[in-house]
Symmetry: C2
């Protein structure tokens, strides 16, 4: 098997799993129980939260543990004042000023939550970068939340979050002067890029940050939301009052221990980036042998080093995927949850690709399972499949 | 260690963990990805859901997988028409007719969600059984949801769900005749008792049923909501559209595989009940040697066989717990999440216990880690601690 879809899922590393194992059957206690063995589990849990928080330069208590990034995104949106929650009727009232702004290329878990409110989208450039002029134009006095992912999940394009934070800071100052009482928060989904980028919340300038365990060789079913001081959330899941009343339910101890272990296992971002640059170069040089030259998507200067989104115009990417699957080479056309519905990618549409170009687009995302050898082999196989497809089309 | 707190948490069984393991690092694929290995994970996931559904006599598609019972309870309450969701202002309007009725002894995850709506509580008897007259009295024409747990998490009292379902059925018929358009749904949190009771949704007559993996030697961080045909929910977590759009987020594959394996491992309820009856009898006979005779809480005729809630009036249950902890014997005063806050149990208050009696109450819940030997040893230790406490008090 050659796996080229790390943006979709990653294998739990051996070391991570080893750290999780004792918490299934031995240290299985409910951390809220009153006896010592349970209290020790509570300590381990809080310590794991601190480890995760270290990654973003925060305290364990600034995190709300969730069942994954999607839930963290949903929770982030509850920061928008609840009395602004739109009823279906209000939603139809298109004259309403937007309360939330989201990048048009955001993941479904951001877009679908935005739709609960009066909302608008911020445009992106042809490389998937935020159009800062469009942000400024749309930053009307009623906007309470701006949500821009750290790096796009199909293109790998990295957004200039600190620049965005600066624009929001200026707007906050201007609101303060004019007596406008609306809050203005910056949320970012950092599901992609956790291993490769600086995600210090102060340097990024975010108020809310979504973290994902499953993309960094941690377990599925666990994520976290960093919540800046003074940000008020309206919890989605009420009950026993866990996570400072923001997310009730018995804690998923093995999940959080595993998430923390995955954070600890993260390699130096610069050396990782170097590795992926080399692997990408190998792939690209193999692809020079293809009869149709591919063009690469995303932003050359501001892109995750493990992402290689590309397009073979005129070819059918799904056919390519099936042909590679026969050789146990796995990659995808885009976000797994979106791709499974067979709809053309809203991300690729947003960057201005034609329907034909969208149909010919693939997402290669490198990761822990890749080596120079298997990437070279995958490149050769991709060229063979592409060239075969070219012949098939020219014959027909 | 002698563990007497199975209602709070259970160890994941070896067989369950073995079944989960391949899905962490080998079959780690995103089930929505387009290639064969991912599709196989999708098949395993759907098959696991079917196994869980078999337990309640339903189809896999009738279940929405959640991150646990608390989230399942929260999701169940979204069945109440969304335009009836109370704003803070409406909540203060006490004249509003109740939209939801919940038993006053429900778990916090039911009570806190009920509070989002105009709500009222149904009284219980001194043994914790639902007061059916009170239910009938409060079942006003606007009530849309009635939530009654299958078995109480502190007392083990089993509620007569099919009788409750019958009352609701009659009310539905009467609404149909009078042209009252309000729906009327029955929800039950079956977190406790999954291993011991008949939980066939048709026989119980429920529209919504909460299932919990962590109480039956399955992993933490996973649960399910059975959703009857025609019941409309308003998803809490939006995004990629997983779980028929009712619960987005990449599926927690190992969690669901483990939950299903735990369901398969469940023993014959009758033989389990026999085992717990014997163990309870051993404990009770040991307790006959205590200087203060305890009285037992809950309903003698309708009680989970593994529950032994009891009260030593005049003693301090928390001191008893700490003294037993020193001997590595673990039990609790009640629900872990509530107990950790140091508030007197609302359940014990509801059944009419005095503050002194509440302070002297313990919850023993038997399970997979108990044997005749360790239960006898625990009984002797409890008697020693109780007798020592009696002496201490009489001296002071």
């Amino acid at each position: 098997m050659i796996y080229l879809d790390h943006a979709s899922a990653t294998p739990v590393s051996k070391k991570v799993l080893e750290r999780m194992l004792p918490y299934f059957s031995e240290k299985f206690f409910n951390p809220s129980a009153p006896y010592l063995s349970a209290k020790r589990v509570r300590e381990d849990y809080e310590s794991a939260k601190q480890t995760i928080a270290n990654l973003v330069g925060a305290k364990g208590n600034d995190l709300v543990i969730t069942s994954g990034a999607t839930e963290a995104n949903a929770l982030a949106f509850t920061a928008v004042a609840p009395d602004n929650l739109e009823t279906e009727q209000n939603l139809k009232n298109t004259l309403k000023s937007p309360k939330v702004l989201v990048l048009e290329t955001e993941h479904a878990s951001v877009l679908e939550n935005a739709k609960k409110y009066a909302w608008d989208t911020i445009k992106v450039t042809k490389t998937g970068l935020i159009d800062l002029f469009d942000l400024k134009k749309k930053l009307s006095p009623e906007v309470e939340l701006v949500s821009v992912s750290l790096a796009n999940n199909e293109l790998g394009t990295i957004q200039p979050l600190s620049e965005i934070a600066q624009i929001l800071k200026e707007e906050r100052l201007s609101r303060l002067k004019s007596g406008n009482p609306h809050q203005l928060l910056l949320h970012s989904d950092a599901s992609q890029g956790l291993a490769l980028l600086d995600i210090n919340v102060s340097r990024l300038g975010v108020d809310l940050l979504t973290l994902n365990s499953a993309k960094i060789s941690g377990p599925k079913g666990v994520g976290a939301l960093y919540v800046g001081h003074g940000v008020r959330l309206n919890p989605l899941v009420l009950g026993g009052g866990q996570e400072r009343n923001l997310r009730s339910g018995t804690e998923n101890i093995p999940g959080v221990i595993g998430f923390a272990a995955a954070c600890e296992q993260l390699k130096n971002p610069a050396s990782l980036a170097k590795k992926y640059k080399k692997l990408s170069d190998i792939l690209k040089s193999e692809l020079e042998n293809s009869k149709i030259p591919p063009f690469f998507l995303g932003d050359k200067k501001s892109k995750l080093s493990n992402f290689l989104p590309l397009c073979f115009p005129g070819l059918d990417a799904e056919r390519i995927i099936y042909k590679l699957e026969e050789r146990e080479i796995y990659l995808s056309t885009g976000a797994a949850c979106a791709a499974s519905k067979g709809k053309p990618s809203h991300v690729l549409r947003a960057i201005g690709l034609s329907p034909e170009e969208i149909a010919g687009s693939l997402r290669i995302s490198l990761g822990v399972l890749n080596t120079e050898e298997n990437v070279r082999e995958a490149g050769k196989a991709l060229v063979e499949v592409v060239n075969h497809e070219c012949e098939r089309i020219s014959r027909s």
